[in-house]
Amino acid sequence: MSDVTLGDTAYLQSERAPALPPPSATRGPLGWMRQNLFSSPGSTALTLLFAALVAWIVPGIVDFALLKAVWHGDSPLCRANPDGACWPFIAEKFNYLRYGAYPIDQRWRVDVVEVVGAVLISWLLWTGAPRRNVAAVLFFLAYPVLAFFLLRGAAWLGLPVIDTSLWGGVLITLLMSVVGIVFSLPLGVLLALGRRSDMPMVKAACITFIEFVRGVPFIIVLFMANFMLPLFVPDWLTPDRLLRPLIGTMMFAAAYMAEIVRAGLQAMPKGQYEGAHALGLGYWPTMRLVVLPQALTTVIPGIVSTFIGLFKDTTLVAIVGIADFLRTVESARLDPNWAGPSISPTGYLFAAIFYWVFCFGMSRYSLATEHRLNRGRKH
């Protein structure tokens, strides 16, 4: 181009254009802030607004929970310090929150059951563990028997029988959720298969059950189990007061689980059923060996969120007089010996941390499982 002459009117730049200023940094802390915090006037305004919000809230929480909290002492000291959490209160009530009114000299039984359960569950969940099928057999068959006899007691074992009205705290919350989780999945699978069955009567029965239970609040299901069940069965068959909400919990969780499993079944391509039929498999082998393993894998997130929901819903059993963890926190915070302005927030903070750790743990585990199982499907 430079050798083209355009006469006198031509304009040719004879000097180098001045260098442009370097582009604003996109790396380093400054560049990161420019991109993520101050990219536009609106964004800057939002950043400032929310930074002010954080600066207002976070120090308040940290002050309450840690800096101004009472760590050692007794209730007068806590009462004198209303702006900080009262951790001695939790320390004193800790065993009550864990076991409820379970007799003190028998509490080792709860510990044994919980430790065995924790070991078996970690064995089941840790994917690298050897012989996980052994763990499954132990957990689903042997463990319930062990837990029943240890917790309730049996004369022939030399363990005094502990009435279920004395059970409470974390023990009840874990018991409710483990029983609900263990029973809801098989029941839910059966209900889902029934709902997709070709037999009209089976289908109608399953749909009625599922929609009925899902249509009413959990509290109503608990009321039903607690007040109505004793009316509907002969006296000698009346379930224990702890067993009634357990039955309600199982039914409630099973109905929700059924809908999750149904979604998985519907997502199965027809070819899977047809392929299994072509191999000569009957209904149950088709389901057990071909359809369910794939269908359940696709709905793992839904299954885990049902478990999390169930874990959170166990707090509602307090309505039928079962002293679950949150209920024990409620009665502990109303203890007149500890009355003070900081007691209720401390109790609720402790309960929130407990529930949050469990639920968040479950959701993270499900995410990890999902990633592991999806590895084969990614290209």
Binding site: L231, V233, S344, Y348, W356
Partner: protein, 395 residues
């Protein structure tokens, strides 16, 4: 083909292996089992109830209740019947569910959209909100707000005054109460007329746009009609709506409208809890719209805002609506948590107090379940209609 199949099929060795016969047998067994259960449980229930002196009829419906309810949307005294108590409870349930759905939707959409922002601090705060609230029980949220936030508020004399004559104290929130004087009916009429006119105008404008391609400023004119007409009526009628401002007299406030702490705690607790789920639904819905869609819209020259309104949101709504429906239903069902803090909802008043006073457990539970099932069915029906209008029309 059928002939071939029929002839080729070998004879069954036994009728036991005939799938049709088997299916029939299974179903017959199931029906017999269910019938047996229902009949034996029913018989047992009748004899048990007779034995314990529990009423078997619905006569209690017209008996005098004898208890008071603090928040009543319809006239009710302790001389009213159990039937009226039922309606009071039902209205309170519907009130908290309706307000909760609106509030949870607003918070949930705001947080869900915030999680997709480009601003780091906004994204982080929204994520913290979702992860914290989704993982703690709703009952804990409710108890915390009621017992640790609202109960320790000062007594009426030391109320916290907010702008606009709103007062916060341990008896709830006291705020100005609108008084509708003569002529305010016309204002309401103008509001309805404005709304109807806006809807008609929007329809006409859409029709004209499909026919001629000419656009019409629907939003501006609609807003002008909806708010302008009532304002005009308000000014013409000589400002008929006034506010009854609460004043502290002695130990309590006179005048104004009191929102009980139970309602405030239940409404706020349910809304912030459900909002964390709605936020995730909204985020997933917006993310489900393929990037190519907004890129194509940009390529056609649509600006950012219009791309969002016309291309992304309508497609995201298809993904959002079904799970959103079940969240709304969850909120309505969770309103039964009222029982724990003493808000007089259906469960607290009817399945609680009425059941305890009359002992008519079967009847009360049947009515309560029928109400919740109806709410569930009506909500899903309405949302299904809305969904059908929005659904993808496939060939």
């Amino acid at each position: 083909m059928t002939d071939l199949a029929e002839t080729a099929r070998p004879a069954r060795s036994s009728a036991l292996n005939d799938p049709k016969l088997r299916a029939f047998a299974y179903q017959a067994l199931l029906v017999i089992a269910v019938l047996f259960l229902v009949i034996s449980a029913g018989g047992e229930a009748v004899s048990n109830m007779r034995q314990r002196g529990i009423p078997l009829t619905f006569d209690f419906w017209n008996q005098v209740s004898g208890f008071d309810i603090n928040q009543t949307l319809i006239p009710y005294t302790n001389q009213s019947t159990y039937g009226q108590a039922f309606w009071v409870g039902l209205c309170n349930t519907l009130l908290v569910a309706a307000l909760g759905i609106v509030l949870a939707t607003v918070i949930g959409f705001a947080v869900g959209i915030a999680r997709l922002s480009h601003n780091w601090i906004v994204v982080s705060l929204a994520s913290v909100y979702v992860e914290v609230l989704r993982n703690i029980p709703p009952l804990l949220v409710l108890l915390f707000i009621y017992n640790a936030v609202l109960k320790p508020l000062p007594n009426p004399k030391q109320s916290i005054a907010l702008p606009g004559s709103i007062f916060l104290n341990n008896r709830g929130i006291i705020m100005p109460d609108p008084v509708f004087g003569a002529g305010s009916g016309l204002v309401a009429l103008a509001l309805v007329a404005g709304l109807l006119l806006s809807v008609a105008m929007a329809r006409w404008a859409r029709l004209r746009q499909t026919q001629t391609g000419k656009q019409f400023p629907i939003l501006t004119v609609g807003l002008a009609l909806t708010f302008g007409l009532p304002l005009l009526a308000y000014l013409v009628m000589g400002r008929p709506i006034t506010f009854n401002v609460p004043v502290l007299k002695g130990f309590n406030f006179q005048g104004g409208r009191q929102i009980y702490p139970e309602l405030a705690a239940l409404l706020f607790g349910l809304s912030v809890y459900t909002a964390s789920f709605i936020a995730e639904i909204v985020r997933a819905g917006i993310q489900s719209v393929h990037r190519g869609q907004s890129e194509a819209a940009h390529a056609l020259g649509l600006p950012h805002g219009r791309t969002t309104c016309l291309v992304v949101v309508p497609q995201a709504m298809r993904v959002i609506i079904p799970p959103l429906t079940s969240e709304y239903l969850n909120l309505a069902k969770n309103s039964s948590l009222a029982v724990f803090i003493g808000y007089p909802d259906l469960v607290q008043v009817f399945s609680g107090t009425v059941l305890n006073q009359t002992g008519a457990a079967v009847q009360v539970m049947a009515i309560t379940m029928a109400v919740y099932l109806t709410i569930s069915l009506v909500t899903s029906f309405a949302m299904n209609l809305f969904n059908k209008r929005n659904a993808l029309v496939e060939r």
